[in-house]
Symmetry: C2
Subunit: 221 residues, 2 copies
Amino acid sequence: MAEVKLLGSWLSPFSRRVETALKLKNVEYEFVDEDLQSKSALLLKSNPVHQKVPVLLHNDRPIAESQVILEYIDETWKEGFPILPKDPYERAQARFWARFIDEKCLPATWKALWASEEREKAMEEACELLKILENELKDKKFFAGETVGLVDIVANFIAFWLRAIQELVGVELLSKEKLPKLYNWSDEFCSVFQENLPPKDRLVAHFRGRLQSTTTTTTSS
Amino acid sequence: MAEVKLLGSWLSPFSRRVETALKLKNVEYEFVDEDLQSKSALLLKSNPVHQKVPVLLHNDRPIAESQVILEYIDETWKEGFPILPKDPYERAQARFWARFIDEKCLPATWKALWASEEREKAMEEACELLKILENELKDKKFFAGETVGLVDIVANFIAFWLRAIQELVGVELLSKEKLPKLYNWSDEFCSVFQENLPPKDRLVAHFRGRLQSTTTTTTSS
């Protein structure tokens, strides 16, 4: 087995976070594209609690949960590109925003994208949260400053997936008019990490199936 | 202003986590007991995003979110009692379990304690999650081994609040019979941190008010 192996999925932003970090650190790894409808025995054994991708296997030892993996990568390959800042206060700020994205922004934007009921309310809530992120960007190029860091990597869903899905389902959460800084950031992020993002056509085709199933039922999922 | 100030609440397990860490590190601090029904201007200014306790103010700079604060304390007062292990893999495991507690165990046990509908299902789900924690304890005294660490501190709700509330509302989630290891751990934790736990009578009186309001309405909160 390779020293570093990633059990992930081509379409998962959580799995792509880990790939981004490994690439920034120049760590060679083997990527295993899991079929999320039929997960491998290795995945189920490596992450018995959540049974989800991503799982990083480093010398056969499994680490699960993308933010936990990102910290592990930063602490293990210390010499490479820094994912978290050095200063404890700045580290705390990065962790705060990374948690804010996972705990608040992602559930709210996901709900707004797929809501079949009360979409307006869901849209409003998601926009308010994205506005908070917009304000946090201030006039920086990335959340971390001139180069990317933990928060940028964790926000990858907003940079790419959100824009692709909102176009497909016909809503507008992130636009140049509403959130110009976040929009520019998302352009910048996608241009830097172009090679580490799913093919847009394939992603849209995947979610088109989901859209068709939600529009033929009355419940959102 | 004191160098270290904690905006917290006597009844909040999240706030008590931070106090536990500060005490383990022998850091002197000023405690501000916030009225959660009427939060101070300082709290709202210090944590505008969540407007919640705890907030640690270190030389006037605010840090919010209890797990973020615990890592900050560990990184800032490095020489004191170690809250996280040194080894990156062990650190990742500690972070994994701390997240599991906040993301899975706490919402599920809270729901089971206060559910007015489908309590049986909620109880079952909570018990399954607590069983996973029980298994993780193995034959260790604390989650971290012979002494407490991040996971123990984060699990304080299970050690104390859960037992006090389950007695009050008349359900049994954590018992010596069902979960002997977790029960013993909770005894051990409470005996070590007795002075840093809310007075049981006051806590029970606080939640009795909540119980009365939930039994007179049909919705849980």
